[in-house]
Amino acid sequence: MSKALPYQDIQTIYFAIAAVVLPFAAFVINFLFLGKSKLSGWVSTLAILVSSVLAAIIFTRVWNVQQIHVKQIWFRIGDSYLYTGILLNNLSVLMLGLVSVIALPVHIYSTAYMKDDAGYSRYFQYLSFFCFSMLALVVMDNLILLYAFWELVGFSSYLLIGFWFDRANAVQANKKAFIINRIGDIGLLTAIIILFNQYQTFDIERLFKEGGLIASSTIKNGLWISADIQTPVIWQYIACIGIFLGVAAKSAQFPLHTWLPDAMEGPTSVSALIHAATMVAAGVFLLGRVYPLFNPAELTTLAVIGCFTAFMAATIALTQNDLKRILAYSTISQLGYMVMAMGIGAYATSLFHLVTHAFFKCLLFLSAGIVIHQIKHIKEDNNLDIDPQDIANMGGLRKKLPLTFIATLIGGLALIGLPLTSGYLSKEGILITTYEWAQGKGDMMLLVPLFAFFTSCLTAFYVARMLLKVFFGDLNLQFLNPEIKIHIGDGGWRYKAPLVFLALCSLFPFFSFNPFLHEETWLLYGFSAYNSKSVFDIMHIAIPVLVNGASLLIIYYAYMIYMKRSTIVLPQSGLLYRLSFNEWYIDRFYNRVVVKFVLVLSDMAFWFDRKVIDGFVNLLEKIGVFTAGIASWFDRYIVDGILHLSAVIVQAIGGFARRFQNGKVQYYLFSMLLAVIVVFILKILIWN
């Protein structure tokens, strides 16, 4: 420990360490010793239970009280030291508490939900590992470790999405999730490297605290000036873009959102914990951590992208038939709200929405899990060939699954943002702040609150559609297959307790005793330093009234459509419908253009490698062989040839001479005479 701390703080730190490490210990125990045992679920649950208790204690000790930061040297590289440490401030303890508190019911739920699965222990290994990474992520005090756990969170998400690794879709989805997350990771890594280069430290506190290194650096004349380093300002933008990529990948913001709907291939309990409540919130958490880095223009961009994501995801959710996909898009949409809130400066409101959303979305997913589970039961009991997640098959489950219905209803209403729910508090806060923010920015920026309102209305519609299709009316399955037997119910306490707990947390009293005014939420006081102070005016009443009124109207409209089938329905073949149903063709675009492009590029690279580089090498080789051939030819025919030629000449002369030695006396005579005559002739011709 670098500095002397009071005993209680040291204890807090140990608590924090224990809270983080316990799930890891559970993971190790499960991995090493409890390979097949059902005990593993309870080990993990126990670990997370203790973690959440510790987190609660830490929360009470740190929240709005103090900030604790301890660090220790991890290793030295060159001249710079890397530290490992724990930073407990309002943000991290909030997240610490949130993650462990959400994880606990999910664990309990999972022990029941996964009980028949062959990979039960493996599931809890992964889950514990995820909890460890996520908890560590929120308490780490430096960017490198933050990044490390950031990626480990992605990795555990990868493992969990591909939990049923023999399903082709699941492994496609987890690959996609990891790679898209990798894009974000690279952005984040680049940003971290840029910051390291600029400030020579990874320490979050030193960088981002009030009056810290970030705050004291300036941008002037196209240069980004910190204490002793000047960098072109473009690198500040790139750092922000990098962080945004990280956020977009983790929190499923446009354009990197496409992995999240596919990630629903994992077990539903996983979707509830990771892809609704915690991991996807890590992006927003990261934004919260590095908030001071962004300048107003960048924040505006952030707001616009968040708003766009919210709107886009909501439109897609309108037409999806897969229960989990609807929820996934609604998650994207709500995350868009959070990012937008960060962008407009509603730091605290954004985090508030994060928290409320975590609860009600987790609740929704767990309920959906029960619904799907039960439909699957029906499917298995009756050997039907249906998709258990398709809401077209459902209906009327209200009576069969009363608790689930109530839980879903509470979650749904919170998602819409109707009063008395926690969602109302946080969402209205965002909408109001958006409106206030846009007021001073010109007409274009008014589009942001406008779209935010519109998205809210859309939310009301798709939530209503989902609720109506699942719980109201009659069970479509029965309608289609009248003879099926149905034995379903809410399930045991391990299903019910988490639902009840989360449903309670999704109601207003948990956050504020005033069900209508979000300003009175205790959570907001924790971040007063960042949150833009807003004056209380008429809009604070007008906007909620307006939005809720519109929502109610929409719900009524949906009710008319789906229950009474009396109202005009938008055509299901129009451009808008197809756009929505096909998820704006973004995935298809990625597959057809980006992935193809990369694959083509890699094929080209390989072609280049084989044909050009290897071709060149082989050409050299051929030239070599050819030269060698020439050399050997030369050797054989020229060098040896000369030798052979002289031999041949000698031989020829010999042979020629030999022919005179044919034993014929006359021939000898003839030759002799010939020689004589030649001498004579020469004598006459030449020497005369």
Binding site: F75, I77, T190, I193, A605, F606, D609, E621
Partner: protein, 537 residues
Amino acid sequence: MNILTLLIFTPVLFGLIILLLPSSIRASFKYIALLATLLQLGFSIWMYLNFKTGAAYAGINHEEQFQFVQKLPWISLDLGGAGKMQIEYFVGIDGISVTLLVMTSLVLVIAAIASWEITSNLKGFFALFLLLDMAVVGVFCALDFFLFYTFYELMLLPLYFLIGMWGGARREYAAIKFFLYTLFGSVFMLLVMVGLYLSVKDPVTGNHTFNMVQMMNPKNYIDGSVFSILSHQTILGMPARTVGFVVLFIAFAIKVPVVPLHTWLPDAHVEAPTPVSIILAGILLKIGGYGIIRICSGIFPDVAYSGAYWLGLLGVISILYGAFNALAQRDLKRMIAYSSVSHMGFVLLGIASQTAEGISGAVLQMVSHGFLSTMLFFLVGVIYNRVHDRDIYNFRGLGTLMPKYTVYVMVAFFASLGLPGFSAFVAEAFSLAGAFKSHNVNGLLPYWMAVCGSVGILLSAAYFLWTLQRMFFGTVSLKGGDIWKIALTDINWRETLALLPLALIALVLGVMPSLVLGKINDSVLALVQFTQTVFHR
């Protein structure tokens, strides 16, 4: 007895024993080889533990700071008027060598374990294996250029035969390609070596010397000699020192390998038997990186400084190009071979940055890649041994058939793609950080290089995950049908014995990089200090 000498020559001793033993007990050869490598590992671990750190033991260009030094006259010829020819048996290590030595010894143990699969001509195989063992260890220890070169060349011969005799279908092509490539590099290296020899005088004895440490001191260069910095000699119109650097760099770049000199690697890997692949990827490539650090930037720091941009560029190209190529492969071994190209690109990028972070990252990456590529090739060997096929498309759903194997594959893959917690992450992150920082520190590399380099991390995720998804996940479906299904048994204790230490080391190095960085820091700092000051006017 000097521990380094012991370390270098232990394997040869065992190799001789194997040669002398009758072939009738050939089954015991692998145990003898394993014993030799284990003994070597013991020595290197002892050295690692006794290795002193601190600025006073930095090494690099201070002969007295090297540790475990042994210096004996080896070839000493009186050439009359031309002075004395002075070649020494001079071995010693500093921070950069020590970690690589430990890595090498461990990889050799694994390679020895992997040699269980060899069934033909065991005597020849293990004798060559141990000869190779000696040569690679010798390269990391040698401080005399002539000795270095001797070991360097000595590696080629056993490798050529190991690939050419125990390899796959196209082994002869691969062996020849490998041999020619590396020979091409080293022949020119010989010329530069001689040039350096003629340029450098030992200040004590006044003779020409092959001592590499002496070569790093500009004062030892004879005025007007070819490589003297002051004389500005030229070769073919280019500055002589640049030519010398480039030639040496090419020699080592072939080993690393740097695009476009890499094409021997996939062929050699694909055709080589598993233990040779392991040695190739685990150790040989590191010799390239080590050579660039110790010799290229040690003896020609001025050129390394001025040419850093191009080095970095080659590094980035290697990263991206190797990654793209890996993405296009369908042969598992070839894919891993290309991924090696990509990962070694980080080494080059780190070295080019000439920052402490970059070079430390590069060395760490070499160590990490040594373990990980060993693991990867061992894993490929496992599956190849069972069904004699490596085509990614021919497998599906191995995760169900071979769960333990899949766990190791996942560990190896995720460690390779730079998952935090494994060694490659720290190495790659700091290589990139160093490359990025370099612009501010010494202005060598532009910012974008680091950014482009990081894209390589993304691509490595793409090809590893694609392979995982294609081969290991999904429902079981094999090209060879039920025969394969029976053949594909999960890993046995021997394979576990090889894989588990590697996986643990990758993990431990990821969590505690100080195990490596602690030893190399002083040397790296000294090197950075040295390259930036010594040869600059």
